[in-house]
């Protein structure tokens, strides 16, 4: 505040100081306050030094905001969790998965529909990791996207985040699924009403049977569930009115969508039930027709494990009869089976065995020489879990306890070109009826790839001049016609 050597023209004092008004240098008298002189108002940026102690970016710095789509996606994740009424754990898991996936490089330049689907996939993955049963179809319909897109994005998420996606247990899905069916009084006639609990328990038993008999592996779970619910409903009260109702009508009444393959699953399940129903002691081996099988479903499910074993045994016997009567000189090794679960359970000891291939293991003697169509694998006998053995098998078991020991087949006749699927009673349906011919390697011409190519071979691929002219004329005509 050193005074500059000037005198104020108004009051004559020499107390004139430099006092800048923002960026305008001014000389002001301290006594009277008058402005003695002032400099230029406009200056260059480099001359302006006020307010430059603190950097602009430091004063206005803001934390990195997530982009709009990420915010929308997180909102979508939360909304989906609320709709599905998921516990907070799953909501948090899904949100963190979404944040991780969104920020990874794989999802950087991805189209908008994919980003929208990503939200659903993260919810699905979160549910799967916590063991909450939700199907992909549910999430797809909630997001209103294409199921192919959903599948693609789901696989991308799993591979990007390097996670393992555990499988949904279909039994958990069953209960929720059964509650969707509207089978209670107001909208539905008395005859057709059914409680969800009874339906769920019987349908679950049917699904277990389906998975035992190779109807589940590789198939979409939802049609199997719908088929088993339908059959359960039929069997809980097999009145003529119910039996007349087809799958489509049933689903219409219960206000549930019919998935495409469901009717095929119904047929397959009925076939399995017929074969098992035939083994019931009081059927005395009479063939059960699919129309009549509904009444027997309850009994079949109650004794399903022993019925499965009996069916396998009778199938083997039937095969033995065929081969004995058919071919001579059959070298059949009739080795009595090793510890049979049947005998074990009558002793009261219930093994829990997972894989029990009887007699055959990778290192057993006399390696069968597999050729595509000849398959000697002595298939594994059934294994049981502890609970099911104790449950209700005793009656049926003792009745069949005196039956002959099951025979394990050794090497079959070399000449039989039967598909291996015919050797087992319960195989995936396409293996049982191989409608296509077994695929044989088409032995094409033995070529080396470097042979000489003669002109005559090539002539066939070239048009003659006459053909070319005709082709050109026809093209011209077609073009002129189209104009």
């Amino acid at each position: 505040m050193m005074g500059s050597g000037r005198k104020c023209p108004d009051c004559g004092s020499s107390n004139v100081v430099e006092d800048d008004l923002y960026s305008q240098p001014q000389l002001v008298c301290t006594d009277c306050g008058s402005v003695v002189s002032e400099g230029q108002l406009t200056t260059t940026r480099s001359e302006e030094v006020q307010g430059t102690i603190v950097r602009y970016s430091q004063s206005t710095a803001v934390d990195k905001q997530p982009c709009r789509n990420q915010i929308k996606g997180l909102k979508r994740v939360r909304a989906l969790c609320r709709i599905l009424r998921l516990p907070p754990v799953i909501e948090e898991t899904s949100e963190s998965l979404f944040a991780q996936a969104y920020e990874s490089t794989d999802f950087l330049h991805v189209s908008l529909p994919k980003k929208e689907t990503l939200a659903g996939c993260c919810v699905l993955l979160g549910c799967r990791m916590q063991g909450w049963p939700v199907t992909m179809g549910t999430v797809t319909s909630l997001l209103d996207t294409d199921s192919c897109l959903m599948g693609t994005v789901y696989k991308m998420v799993v591979s990007t985040l390097k996670l393992e996606s555990p499988h949904t247990n279909i039994m958990d899905l069953m209960e929720g699924h059964c509650r969707e069916y509207h089978l209670s009084p107001p909208g539905v006639p008395e005859e057709f009403c059914e409680s969800a609990d009874r339906l769920a328990s019987r349908a679950s038993a049917l699904v277990e049977l389906a998975s035992d008999t190779w109807l589940m592996t590789g198939r979409h779970p939802v049609p199997v569930m719908v088929a088993s619910v339908y059959l359960a409903w039929l069997s809980l009260k097999p009145s003529p009115a119910r039996l007349k109702l087809s799958l489509g009508r049933f689903c219409q009444m219960a206000k549930v969508a019919v998935p495409g393959p469901a009717s095929k699953r119904v047929t397959e399940l009925k076939e399995v039930l017929c074969r098992l129903g035939q083994e019931l002691p009081w059927q005395k081996g009479a063939v059960v027709s699919p129309q009549k099988v509904a009444a027997l479903v309850g009994d079949v499910l109650k004794h399903r494990i022993s019925l499965l074993k009996r069916a396998i045994r009778s199938h083997e016997d039937a095969l033995a009869m065929d081969s004995v009567s058919g071919t001579e000189g059959l070298d059949v090794a009739n080795t009595p089976s090793s510890t049979l679960p049947l005998s074990l359970c009558t002793d009261g000891v219930a093994p829990i065995c997972e894989d029990l291939p009887i007699g055959s293991s990778p290192c057993s003697e006399g390696q069968p020489d597999f050729h595509q169509s000849q398959l000697p694998t002595p298939h594994a006998e059934g294994c049981q879990t502890a609970q099911s053995v104790r449950d209700s098998e005793d009656v049926v078991v003792t009745a069949t306890g005196s039956a002959k020991n099951p025979e394990v087949r050794g090497e079959p006749a070399r000449g039989s070109a039967e598909h291996w699927g015919k050797r087992h009673p319960f195989v995936p349906p396409c293996a049982r009826n191989p409608s296509k011919k077994p695929r044989l390697a088409e032995t094409g011409p033995e070529v080396t790839g470097d042979e000489e190519i003669s002109d005559s071979e090539i002539e066939g691929y070239l048009r003659t001049p006459l053909e070319m002219r005709e082709f050109a004329e026809t093209q011209m005509k077609l073009q002129s016609d189209s104009y």
Binding site: G151, D212, G218, Q367, C383, W420, G444, T448
Partner: protein, 186 residues
Amino acid sequence: MEANNDVALDIIITNVVSVFRTRCHLNLRTIALEGSNVIYKPEVGKVLMKLRKPRITASIWSSGKIICTGATSEEEAKLGARRLARCLQKLGFKVKFTAFKVVNVLAVCTMPFHIHLIQFTKNNRPIASYEPELHPAASYRIKNLKATVQVFSTGSITVTGPNVRHVAMAVEQIYPLLFECKSTMR
């Protein structure tokens, strides 16, 4: 093809895809006019030519890149490609047969047992993936061979790999894993 434990499996090669370059520009209209067994697709910018003898379909682009599909062995693919190049030569183009490479081989094989897919996936956790809601087969990627195996519950497998040798090695590698999860009747 022999696997580790004296089992002979038939591996049937169903498709071999190969590429080669002709090092010259090809006029697609000329090919469409003067060649028979030819389909011209102007919207995509390529010509499809089908050969009879080795059953091969070739996609021909005007840049001179050609992709041949449909052969059932690597040698057949090479022969078919050479035949095609000769054909183009006859049509008047200065064709050179260069950069021939077999890009993809697809083979199928049937195991003599059916396979429990969920158990297979559990045993081979990160490498195998199975989503029944998406596809009926479990897929198993072998990184070092760059091969993908799709395993169906009926025991059929399809193998895709960069060449026949890798496909055979992939089958050998996967057989013991499949054998562990072979059919168990419950």
